[in-house]
């Protein structure tokens, strides 16, 4: 019995739904059980009738709840099934084909599950089954027991290449059978033929993944930019997709190195993106992948083709009067700029940059340091390419013995052929011998050499010659040095000695010497007969794996695979031959996606379409949940829910959506304060929480400010108290911090502010106000508090103030620093250890340090400075006239401190020495 997408296993039970209205009436008549309470005042209630007579019936919503619960239970037990499988199960053998290519990796678990479901169904029906993965090589198909296939199916993984249909048609068994083809949705070569053959044998069902397929073509490099092309199938609308570039970072850890966004226009089946990354990064990229697509097709490996060599071109340089356009370096740069990154600079500057190639154009002699550096670099695999020239010919390098940086010994003077002053014709090049790196290059007939340096005949000269003139004189010689090599071209890099640099051969020779970019990238030439060994492989999901014991691939097969895409014989991955690395990607550069077309009569369905879902469990669970809710509701209705509990519920409900009211709104009060603090120089004191101390500090700073105003050009605004937790400190140059034993320790945030304040040139004057009782090393409560407060501060090492400290002369010349107390102990930043001793006859050392960030003392300066509203001192200092002198000195100290804060170490400049000495009376 079915209702739309619903079917019931036991539809008879649904009859019980008729009972629901009866149940409704019954439940309605039975009110919830009352709670009994002993209550003496019941006597007062006698005769009070309930106003709402409905209330003795069950509330309607409770009834509804119960009715729903019971209805859910009834329907649940009736065994509803969503999307029942209406098809007729079919008979006879069943062939399950899986494409199993890279495109199946995007939905492999569901593909497998679908195949398993088909296997199970076939097992129920007793049908023989065969399973085949079309990426494998074709092999005869035989039907057998479904149970035999379950294990094999579970172990199948998608292959990193496209399925190959050729040959499978032949492998089909005799007789008719039904086929379930779990296809990846892409059209591959030969698919239509195989589908037609299958359709001819029986019913063909194609199950396709609904997920769109994405693929990435190999990256191409042009003019320093990487172009990436993404293909797609199955999405017509516009979409965006990110492509990431991965590679090792300097520490060798695989990281994302770049990212480009692919934008698909509506209806377009491919999109392009250009990724521009610095050469340093680009050289490290080893693969690109589409973000969120775990298939081999969404990964494009890179080989040397993306790498650009770093080449340093160094010419003799001294010949600046010559024409720049004719200089050898100019020819080389023009030849190399499009394909390589050129480094400029001196040899010593360039070597740390580890160039791939260093070209020395007519440079004869290197200094010993340069030579050592170059030899080290050669040992680690560099290529030193040298060109001859007049300088090399004229020098005495490598005359009598072999130079380590030249492959051969040279004869003095060189030779000149075919010139105006010589007999003979200009010499053409001999064909490149086998074994030479230039072997196979075509030599243009117009390339001739008129002048060259000559190699001394040596036993190994022949083995070091890789190119020679027609008469057999070596033109290019090479010798290995460590892991690297030194190559000497016996002519100049410009057209003076030969026409070689003017020809295309010059470029090709440079390429062959692995000088320029495309060595190893692609397989142009010289692949025949080579065996390329796999280095890293890609699995079906696009992950890099070790090749294990995979056999090498012949060059011809590799070239074919590069063109047509990989196969089981040449799976995608990185292949290496000697120095050259080739990336074989899942998608060839010419790849494009076409949707598969199925022959008429094919049943095409999605992977999950046939899934029927039993709803009984859900409905029963819902019924249980509703009944649980009913218990709660009954408790509430009968008044048994404790009041406290209800209050807690309300509180909970209120507390749950706690709004984040802490928005970053500008605080007008703080702004006004900031404006006030930046109107001029504002002296500030730290609020300790002790009102008396704070008032004294404010009065003291007011008194000091008045004196500054009177005596100096510093005209401070009225002082401000600073709450370390709340207020911004950056506005103040100077903080006076009286220490009280009971003040709160600032929070971490406040310490961060204080440290920033100190680092940016602020100064804090700590005053423990205990100099009268704190003797030598006697710890007072204030002193201990100071230690506690300062432990979180970024304070440099401190020392007792030296007598030549700039604080003693920043305005007044001072020897001691009294406040209300007269203690000589004042701690400032210690002079640097190399400051040296005070010299005889010198008033002070030349200390070029900055402003001390903290001054620590205990002389209770604020009390000495403090004035009341009329300008009269608030606190007595000392006794009589001597006390007033002390107050004056306290003011002078304060002025010196402020001057020190504002002018830094200006007064320690030696410029002031004569004037200061004069004032000191020396």
């Amino acid at each position: 019995m079915t209702f739309g997408p619903l079917a019931f296993a036991a539809p008879g039970l649904l009859l019980a739904l008729i009972a629901l209205p009866i149940l409704w009436l019954l439940l309605r008549a039975i009110p919830p059980a009352p709670i009994r309470r002993r209550f003496p005042a019941v006597a007062l209630m006698l005769g009070l009738t309930d106003e709402d007579r409905q209330a003795d019936k069950t509330p309607w919503w409770l009834l509804l709840l119960r009715a729903l619960a019971i209805a859910a239970a009834i329907i649940g037990f009736a065994g509803p099934v969503l999307n029942p499988d209406p098809r007729d199960p079919g008979t006879g053998p069943l062939l399950i084909l899986l494409d199993g290519g890279w495109a199946d990796a995007r939905d492999w678990p569901r593909t497998q599950a679908r195949a398993q479901a088909a296997l199970e169904e076939a097992a129920r029906m007793g049908r023989p089954v065969a399973v085949a993965r079309l990426t494998d090589a074709a092999q005869p198909i035989t039907f057998s027991n479904p149970a035999d296939w379950a294990g094999r199916l579970a172990a199948m993984q998608p292959a990193p290449y496209a399925p190959a249909y050729a040959g499978w048609e032949m492998a089909l068994p005799e007789g008719g059978f039904e086929t379930l083809w779990l296809a990846d949705g892409l059209d591959h070569k030969g698919r239509a033929d195989l589908a037609a053959a299958l359709a001819a044998r029986g019913r063909l069902t194609a199950a396709l993944s609904p997920r769109p397929a994405y693929g990435l073509r190999p990256a191409t490099l042009a003019e320093g930019k990487i172009t990436l092309t993404t293909l797609r199938l199955g999405v017509p609308e516009s979409a965006e997709l990110d492509v990431t570039a991965h590679g090792p970072d300097p520490a060798g850890i695989d990281r994302e190195l770049g990212r480009a966004r692919m934008v698909f226009a509506p209806g377009a089946d491919q999109a392009q993106a250009v990724l521009e990354v610095p050469p340093e990064l680009r050289n490290r990229i080893n693969r690109f992948s589409l973000l969120g697509q775990r298939t081999a097709g969404a990964v494009a490996l890179t080989d040397d083709s993306l790498k650009r060599r770093k080449i340093a071109v160094i010419d003799s340089g001294a010949d600046r009067e010559g024409l720049q356009l004719l200089a050898p370096g100019h020819y080389l740069r023009q030849a190399l700029v499009p394909v390589a990154d050129l480094l400029d600079g001196t040899l010593t500057d360039i070597l740390p940059a580890k160039p791939d190639v260093i070209i020395l154009a007519d440079v004869a002699k290197l200094t010993q340091a340069e030579q050592d550096g170059v030899l080290d670099w050669l040992d680690s695999g560099g290529l030193l390419l040298r060109f001859a020239g007049p300088r090399l010919a004229a020098s005495d390098v490598a005359r009598s013995e072999e130079d380590p940086l030249l492959p051969v010994r040279l004869r003095e003077g060189g030779r000149s052929v075919g010139g105006t002053m010589s007999w003979g014709e200009p010499k053409p090049l001999a064909p490149f011998a086998e074994g030479s790196p230039f072997h196979g290059l075509v030599i243009p007939s117009d390339v001739t050499v008129t002048e060259q340096v000559l190699a001394q005949p040596d036993p190994d000269l022949a083995s070091r010659t890789i190119a020679a003139l027609a008469d057999g004189t070596p033109l290019v010689t090479r010798k290995p040095v460590g892991a690297g090599q030194v190559v000497l071209v016996h002519v100049t890099a410009n057209a003076e000695w030969s026409s070689l640099p003017l020809s295309g051969l010059f470029m090709q020779m440079l390429e062959r010497l692995a000088v320029s970019a495309r060595v190893g990238g692609g397989l142009e030439g010289a692949v025949e007969g080579l065996i390329w060994s796999p280095e890293r492989m890609v699995d079906g999901y696009g992950d890099l794996v070790e090749p294990g014991d995979l056999a090498g691939v012949e060059g011809e097969a590799l070239a074919l695979a590069l063109q047509d895409g990989p196969s089981a014989k040449s799976p995608p991955g990185l292949y290496r031959h000697e120095e050259r690395l080739v990336a074989l990607n899942t998608l060839p550069p010419s790849a494009s996606f076409r949707p598969a077309i199925w022959p008429a009569g094919t049943l095409v369905e999605g992977l999950g379409a046939a899934r029927s879902q039993a709803l009984g469990g859900w409905l029963l669970a819902a019924a249980l949940a509703l009944l649980a809710l009913d218990i709660l509701a009954s408790v509430v209705v009968s008044g048994r829910m404790p009041r406290l509990g209800r209050a807690a519920l309300v509180v909970l409900a209120l507390a749950l959506p706690t709004p984040e009211a802490q928005a970053q709104t500008p605080d007008p009060a703080a702004d006004a304060r900031g404006i006030e603090a930046t109107r001029g120089v504002v002296l500030a004191h730290v609020l300790t929480g002790n009102a008396e101390i704070d008032d004294t500090a404010a009065a003291g700073l007011r008194g000091l400010g008045d004196q500054l105003w009177l005596r100096t050009s510093v005209e401070p605004e009225p002082p401000m108290g600073v709450d370390l937790e709340e207020d911004e400190l950056a506005f103040f140059p100077f903080l006076y911090w009286p220490i009280t034993p009971d003040q709160p320790v600032p929070s971490t945030r406040a310490y961060a502010k204080l440290n920033a304040f100190l680092r940016t040139g602020g100064m804090i004057l700590f005053d423990t106000r205990d100099a009268d009782i704190a003797g030598m090393g006697g710890a007072t409560a204030e002193g201990e508090m100071l230690q506690l407060l300062a432990s979180g501060l970024d304070v440099p090492p401190l020392d007792l103030i030296p007598e030549d400290h700039v604080l003693t002369r920043s305005f007044y010349l001072l020897q001691d620093f009294p406040g209300r107390h007269r203690s000589a102990d004042l701690w400032v930043e210690a002079p640097p250890p190399d400051a040296g001793e005070l010299e005889e006859g010198m008033a002070f050392r030349n200390l070029n340090d900055g402003v001390t960030p903290v001054i620590i003392g205990g002389n209770d300066w604020a009390s000495a400075w403090a004035i009341d509203g009329t300008g009269a001192p608030l606190y007595p200092v000392g006794r009589g006239l001597a006390g007033e002198d002390q107050r004056e000195m306290a003011y002078r100290f304060g002025i010196n401190v402020v001057m020190h804060v504002l002018t830094g170490n200006y007064k320690s400049d030696q410029v002031h020495v004569p004037a200061l000495l004069e004032r000191l009376g020396q």
């Binding site: 009110p31 919830p32 059980a33 009352p34 709670i35 009994r36 309470r37 002993r38 209550f39 003496p40 005042a41 019941v42 006597a43 007062l44 209630m45 006698l46 009070l48 309930d50 106003e51 709402d52 007579r53 209330a55 003795d56 509430v636 209705v637 009968s638 008044g639 048994r640 009041r643």
Partner: protein, 291 residues
């Protein structure tokens, strides 16, 4: 409390129970009484008593024995020495023994009965210290400290649901204190008060209520039963009943106040959630002022 099979055993058990609780109750009542300033409470008028009140010139009708010769010798006319009238009062305490008094809305609060006994005993201690004769309803009032123990022993629980003041033992022109929740039928109270008023007895009504009875913090479908179970009332939604209940309660209080005023009594309502001291002070002053 139901009657046990063996009344003597029940009595003994009860006595033991009382023996355990009485000293504590007594001590508490004494402590409470201490907090009220106690002074010799003379009647501020001449009369029978021990304390000197005033000398006045003798006039006709004074017996020769009344003349204070020592005072008269200092003047020409004879003087009579008057004493302050110190007539001891008879105070009758009635503590509602009914089961409705055993109610407490919360475990931390004392029951109404506990509070009523405490108040009654403390009042008794005060009165006895003041030289009055104090007795429980139905018992003759007696003076003296020893009477406190008698009072304490006489406080017992009853079996009925709601108590009716027992006015039978009232001493004419004496004082009476009725401590109850007065939630029962009003007729008994009216009768008792009329009876007392007929005999010139004045006094105070202290209505003891639990805060739960004042606030009515109930909701939902509820069956309310009296403590003894004799009355029951069912409601579908107790919270809907609240306002009307409170109105009834206010009406009851008003009624009691009116009744008390009509017969010259004092009425106050005391909640067990409040300290007992304020109620004691009020009752004491009401008794004093009721002169």
């Amino acid at each position: 409390m139901s009657l046990a099979a063996d009344p003597r055993a029940s009595l003994r058990a009860e006595a033991e129970l009382l023996g355990q609780s009485l000293p504590a109750l007594l001590a508490e009542a004494e402590m409470l009484a201490q907090t009220v300033m106690l002074g010799e409470h003379g009647r501020k008028r001449a009369g029978q008593g021990d304390e000197f009140w005033q000398y006045r010139a003798a006039h006709a009708g004074d017996s020769a024995r009344a003349i204070d010769w020592r005072r008269s010798a200092r003047a020409d006319t004879p003087f009579v020495r008057e004493r302050e009238w110190q007539a001891a009062q008879s105070v009758t305490l009635w503590v509602d023994p009914s089961r409705s008094m055993a109610f407490s809305g919360e475990k931390s609060r004392p029951t109404k009965a506990d509070r009523a006994r405490l108040l009654a005993l403390a009042l008794g201690v005060l009165m006895l210290k003041g030289g009055e004769r104090v007795g429980l309803a139905g018992q003759p009032p007696r003076p003296g400290r020893a009477q406190v123990v008698t009072l304490a022993n006489g406080l017992a629980d009853g079996a009925e649901d709601y108590g009716v003041p027992d006015a039978t033992g009232l001493v004419p022109l004496g004082r009476a204190v009725f401590l109850s929740d007065f939630l029962g039928p009003l007729e008994g109270i009216e009768t008792a008060l009329a009876y007392a008023a007929d005999r010139g007895v004045r006094g105070v009504l202290v209505q003891l209520l639990d805060p739960a009875e004042e606030e009515f913090p109930f909701s939902g479908r509820t069956v309310f039963e009296s403590m003894g179970g004799s009355l029951r009332h069912e409601t579908q939604s107790a919270n809907a009943l609240r306002d009307r209940y409170l109105a009834r309660l206010a009406e009851r209080k008003d009624r009691l106040a009116t009744l008390a005023r009509a017969v010259g009594w004092h009425y106050a309502c005391h909640h067990t959630g409040q300290p007992a001291q304020s109620a004691l002070l009020w009752a004491y002053q009401a008794l004093e002022g009721g002169r």
